[in-house]
Symmetry: C2
Subunit: 700 residues, 2 copies
């Protein structure tokens, strides 16, 4: 049985294979780093040509070590790494192997790809867990275990768990965290490299179960199995926040990640949807990742998203306020009339209080006591969930005085407060004091607000696990697959109707007279649409006629439609002509289903028409999902405002749209034969909706 | 005649009124700062109750000083400041006054507002220039002149000119600039405070003419006179780049700026358009402002926008690549096949070259010589305009070796190169070395790319001055103004036609029969629209009928329209019914003109329909403008893609739309009586356009 990752993080002994006396070789630096940080366990340098390295006796191979061996770090290339792995397997006691060397699958060279496959095979068979290859491995500040060769690494214990697909970025993030006024320490660090065995997802799961980790930070280029990621993440986020910096946002960026770690990045928008669906908070920069971690690590959870901007400098206050409003997560706190009155009475005459509400500029004339009292009045207001406190203390007011005035007040309340004291050396001491007293500080007023926004998202995000839907088939699908074709439109409508999705009532007319009779029964203007497996884009070949009224128009429409299609597609089998009522007008949406290489069946929703293309105002979620996720996915788009009723229009039937999305997501999960569903457009009314066109493509 | 601002920056003597022995008072700190930085001129502390301050003899008033006096710094409140100003006027030799004290117009208290007005009056009458009140004034590192009381101020000469509306932000920006690996020095610093006399705009103009300033950085909350700003900025940007951090982007942020410096921020989108129109580059954060200034200050101008990402660490390369593509200004350089081949031959086998093209990941296996050679191959490719070089040097490769390998190569070429060496202390020395050799370095790979984007924008931006259009009037406008009403639709159409803007052909029918005759002549379906000064929203009262064909339908439509309008608006004077042909279908746009409180006549363009509201996909420019600006304003919107022909549609007549925008912008400038123009929708075809509805509102 495979060992748990925690056992590897707690390894009591490490062998370094490829250890060297040459100070410029990785095999030297790993040993030196372990010694310099004071690793608590045993260190065994392995090099058949040396007797001693850095004062430690050298072994010819790991087989020679007579004592128990937990972890092996391999600094040798390709095939040599495979040999070490085989030796580890023979020993029987090795729990983990970290392969530092690059030059495996990421090169695309067949023999290197094979060497990596061999590592993976031995890992599976032996239960030994492999990090890498092409990675700097792991760090555990508690036991001072470091497998990488990062110069000047600092191990400050804390409660952050890092998962990274880039050694460089991982190292940079740790360094950035440690350079804060009060260093933000960490509990675990894992760089997964090429992920031949241990994956980023498994590391997230492990940290989720590890009480030493309070917040998980992930630098992500892509996941191999999106559904497994969601299974893990939706569980972990119930226990602790997961913040992800996902790169490869753009097409070129995604292609660059492919060459980096041989992981296909997939569609970035699907990742965004999946993150939201499983409660993961996405951030866009390294700075925000650390800012968010500081806030989560140091602050209580907010009760809501209402923030008061308390500032001593107008410009900084405006920047914070812009960020509150533009960020979309927070809003200015609607403080009570009473609080505003009391603040006005307290603060100097040039102070600007509650203009706008939630914004308090004390002016540089306020003194330390006034900052403390203002903080108390603000925090005591039940309409305030959080405070951003900005100050560039004037010379006559030492920053420490201000810090010491607000700290005891903040401690009386259980509400998050962040600070931006800027910008020169005079505030260094005050920032450290604030952080030592649980108040995270930031370099800029916008970064402080973003930290609160991330904290708020992490607090209120919900993770929804993917339900298991039994795979099924359906006679309509079976028949079409047997005939090697996609569904015809009437089949698609019947199939949807069988799953409680109401399309349009229709008649499949085989003759002009049938069409006229159908139109008469439908009573009102009708549309005619050709039904033929050879005709995919009906409109392009004259296969659609709209808004026909009365037997004459319908009959003529039928004849012309058939003529036009026959002329455009001479070999088309025309099964008939669909007669459907013209749908009432209403805003149009698009609902699509595709199969994502990472995430499987994925549902898209957005405003219809050219706007999908122009504005990408669409949201994605992974199927299947329930009504909560469907509603969230609708709300994520600006199209939601159309549904709420824009320009005096009445609100539309969002509930029916939610139900439709949920049902389509279930179909997608249930029938793997379906490759693609395209309901476009779907018109939504005050009550119900119409699906004006339904295409279902199969895997044929 | 008023003195030039440069004379004030070069003041040879400074009196500090309100000087104090109390180290916590501003009046003490100003004197102490002047002494500690080593101001080259004379310093006169003024305080009637002291004999000596900080070793300098004290004067009772500025009148007592027998030697020439250039500059007066006032640390006294309200009325006392006015008295000092009067004394300065009586002396006759004072060139400038800096009023540090707050508590003037920004308080909104009538007597404080009046004190500020008095300062302004005396300034106008005497020619003495006033900075403030409510400001920290000016700094000039050359002469070591500092009027503020910022603790620990450092004066490093350089070529940056700062204009700021916030003392705190201004100080923060300078500190941020000076904390770069090679401090980014400055030439001038000016904080304008309440701008009772010297404005931010005047300071921009002054720096524009000052050879000591190479790049101008502006922290902006708002301008008082938008057109004056554009006049100045469009001239200055021809000579040197102007970068602006404009805050108050959001509604709440704008309200906060109002309380800060009593400047109405105006519509942020209009500012964005105005900046673009006069060649100013807008940035969003303090960091980007400094990053852009570093790039401009240190680098040659790029020949184009094609950037190669050269990276030693995959993760950093991906972040840079994402930023290149997402930023919208730069693109990855399409390097030649030959360059890619040579790089592949040069670099280690695990390097990833030109996947995608323009992206080169050397991998950590590359050595110093290879970085140098790779840099040479890349810079020699004529398809490369710029390079971003990322490195987190591995232990076995000292960062200085890498820096020393690339510096001489970069010096052989006249192309901008920026670097991100991250992140811990090992790179500090290398970063300083790079910057001392003209290669700006940045903390993160995305910041490095943004610096190049700002440099590129500053290089290729064009400033277009506003033309002078003689004010005119027109009989149609005169008549309507005389009758106290807005233009009726046929008047609007005639007025537009008189200015070579083709509306629809129309007939104003007074009877049912006239409508029928008009429809017959127009040949094709028609629309009927009521014409009545009392009816503003025609559709709401049944005043519009669309798509009527044949005399019967037109006659019935006419009767019902008149009936419905009479019922809905019993006192409506119905002047007649407009009969117009139905316009062919086509994408719909909106063109609007409003008068902005800061910028005057302003034109808006965007996709029509609900999308203006949902996506704010509109652009603004200040009227009047020519075809270059009109085309840029169309291209700025995503609607431009619709005009290019989306989804296989043929391209639309952009040239005619450009002409239409130019003409509307001229009308806006020419006729101040017009308050608002609304052409909505304007349908654009492969050839020409139709204005389906034209509303012109007057100042009545």
């Amino acid at each position: 049985m495979a060992v748990s990752l925690r056992e590897i993080f707690e390894a009591q002994s490490v062998a370094v294979v490829g250890a060297s006396r040459d100070p410029f070789k990785a095999g030297h630096q790993v040993v030196r780093t372990l010694l310099s940080v004071g690793y608590a366990g045993k260190i065994y340098p392995i090099n058949p040509n040396e007797k001693e390295i850095l004062g430690l006796p050298c072994y010819r191979s790991i087989a020679e070590i007579r004592e128990p061996l937990d972890l092996v770090v391999v600094c040798l290339p390709g095939k040599a790494a495979v040999t070490v792995m085989e030796e580890a397997e023979r020993r029987g006691d090795v729990k983990g192997v970290v392969v530092l060397s690059a030059g495996f699958a990421e090169t695309g060279v067949p023999e290197n790809v094979e060497a990596q496959q061999r590592l993976a095979e031995i890992a599976r068979r032996s239960g030994i867990r492999v990090f890498g290859p092409n990675c700097i491995g792991i760090m555990n500040p508690e036991t001072k275990l470091v497998t990488g060769f990062h110069p000047g690494v600092t191990l400050v214990p804390g409660n952050v768990g890092y998962v990274t697909q880039s050694g460089a970025l991982g190292g940079s993030l740790v360094t950035l965290a440690l350079s804060q006024p009060k260093p933000l320490g960490f509990a675990r660090f894992g760089h997964v490299g090429n992920m031949c065995d241990v994956s980023n997802v498994e590391l997230i799961e492990d940290y989720g179960n590890d009480p030493a980790v309070k917040v998980i930070l992930v630098y992500l280029e892509g996941v191999k199995d999106g559904r497994e990621f969601m299974r893990v993440a939706s569980q972990v986020t119930k226990k602790k926040p997961v913040l992800v910096l996902k790169v490869g946002r753009t097409e070129s960026g995604a292609r660059a990640t492919l060459s980096h770690t041989a992981t296909l990045a997939g569609t970035d928008a699907v990742y965004s949807g999946a993150f939201r669906q499983c409660g993961v908070v996405r951030v866009n920069t390294m700075q925000d990742l650390i800012a968010g971690a500081k806030a989560i690590s140091m602050l209580p959870r907010p009760r809501g998203n209402r923030v008061c901007v308390l500032t001593e400098a107008g410009g900084m206050g405006v920047i914070s306020t812009d960020e509150v409003e533009a960020g979309g997560v927070l809003k200015l706190a609607p403080m009570s009339w009473e609080t505003c009155e009391k603040l006005t009475a307290l603060l100097p005459p040039m102070a600007m209080v509650c203009k706008p509400n939630g914004y308090v500029d004390t002016s540089a004339a306020a003194m330390a006591r006034e900052f403390g009292e203002a903080m108390r009045l603000i925090l005591a207001d039940p309409n305030v969930d959080m405070v951003v406190f900005n100050s560039i203390p004037p010379t006559f007011l030492p920053p420490m005085d201000v810090a010491q005035a607000v700290v005891p007040v903040i401690k009386e309340f259980d509400k998050p407060v962040v600070a931006c004291f800027t910008v020169n050396e005079t505030v260094v001491e005050a920032r450290r004091y604030l952080e030592e007293n649980g108040i995270p500080t930031f370099d800029t007023p916008d970064a402080a607000v973003r930290a609160l926004a991330i904290l708020t998202q992490a607090t209120f995000s919900q993770g929804y696990p993917l339900a298991d839907v039994p795979v099924a088939t359906h006679p309509i699908l079976e028949r079409a697959v047997a005939e090697g074709r996609h569904l015809l439109e009437p089949e698609a409508l019947d199939f949807l109707a069988d799953h409680a999705i109401a399309g349009m009532p229709y008649v499949l007319a085989k003759t002009r007279e049938e069409a006229q009779r159908a139109a008469r029964e439908l009573d009102g203007p009708v549309a005619l649409k050709v039904v033929s497996p050879q005709v995919v884009h009906k409109s392009d070949v004259g296969g659609v006629r709209l808004n026909l009224r009365g037997p004459e128009a319908v009959g003529q429409g039928y004849d012309r439609l058939v003529d036009d299609v026959r002329r455009a597609v001479p070999d088309a089998d025309i099964y008939g002509v669909l007669v459907v009522p013209m749908a009432p007008s209403g805003p149009e949406f698009i609902i699509g289903m595709t199969r994502d290489p990472q995430f499987g069946p994925t549902i898209m929703f957005g405003l219809g028409g050219v706007f999908v293309e122009l504005f990408r105002d669409v949201s994605f979620r992974v199927a299947p999902f329930g009504p909560d996720v469907a509603l969230d996915m609708i709300r994520e788009t600006r199209g939601y405002r159309v549904l709420e009723g824009i320009r005096g229009e009445k609100p539309k039937d969002v509930a029916s749209l939610v139900e439709l999305l949920v049902r389509v997501s279930q179909l997608a999960a249930q029938y793997p034969q379906i490759r693609e569903i395209d309901l476009n457009p779907v018109r939504v009314y005050e009550k119900g909706y119409s699906i004006l066109d339904a295409r279902i493509l199969l895997d044929i």
